[in-house]
């Protein structure tokens, strides 16, 4: 079976859209797909999709609030305090292109594998319980490399 593994590093709306477009497209045409979320990318798999004080210490809680979840992901250029992401979402709907949320739902339906980075979770004070239940496991580099072996790997 062909395999695509993506390291989802960015928490930006547009880059996450690229991650989930590739992931769902590949899964739909028969690839095994592994998504490894690390650093800002972890925002995409948080249970609380808005802003919340996720974290264990005052500092990580503040970070958690600033980072937010999928619904408040900023656009990497011309964000304008979050207005651009809203405009993009409405343009996507208007043009019958799947929104980020629809792509994430499709990825779940198609059995895309979600993994979270142990090290980044540790820094940000996030536990596995803070993530959506589809997150299969918490991994380190060695485990991810083993999963990605013999396939294509992308860093977004």
């Amino acid at each position: 079976m062909k395999k695509l593994s993506i390291i989802s590093f960015s928490g930006d709306f547009d880059k996450l859209t690229a991650v989930f477009t590739l992931a769902t497209g590949a899964a739909a045409v028969g690839y095994e797909v592994n998504l490894f979320f690390t650093f800002w990318g972890l925002d995409a798999i948080k249970k609380k999709q808005g802003r919340s004080f996720t974290g264990k210490s005052p500092l990580t809680k503040a970070f958690g609030f600033l980072m937010g979840g999928l619904k408040v992901a900023p656009v990497s250029r011309f964000n304008f305090w979050g207005i651009s992401a809203k405009i993009f979402r409405s343009l996507m709907r208007k043009n019958n292109v799947a929104t980020l949320e629809e792509l994430v739902d499709s990825a779940k339906i198609l059995g895309v594998n979600f993994y979270a980075c142990e090290m980044a979770m540790h820094i940000l004070g996030i536990g596995k319980d803070d993530f959506i239940p589809e997150v299969k496991d918490v991994l380190g580099v060695a485990s991810f490399l083993k999963l990605a072996d013999d396939g294509q790997t992308l860093f977004i």
Partner: protein, 74 residues
């Protein structure tokens, strides 16, 4: 044998493939899926990727303008 139908003419990549894949997964042996799609990316790739995944493409025919009908069997 059941015959399923799906219209992906208003969808774009990757949802064209996602919807087709989800419908194909409902098929039992011998069932068919009729896919209405546009020429270009969907017409070039939906039949090809279905064949790669072990399905049989029974026919591809033009319907109206850029719209084609593809019949896929499990």
């Amino acid at each position: 044998m059941a015959n399923y139908k799906i219209d992906i003419t208003k969808d774009h990549c990757p949802i064209t493939f996602v919807k087709t894949k989800i419908e194909l997964s409902k098929l039992a042996q011998g069932d068919t899926l009729e896919v209405l799609l546009l020429k270009g990316e969907p017409l070039e790739n939906v039949p090809r990727t279905s064949t790669e995944q072990g399905y049989t493409v029974l026919s591809i025919e033009p319907v109206d303008g850029d719209i084609y009908k593809v019949i896929i069997q499990k």
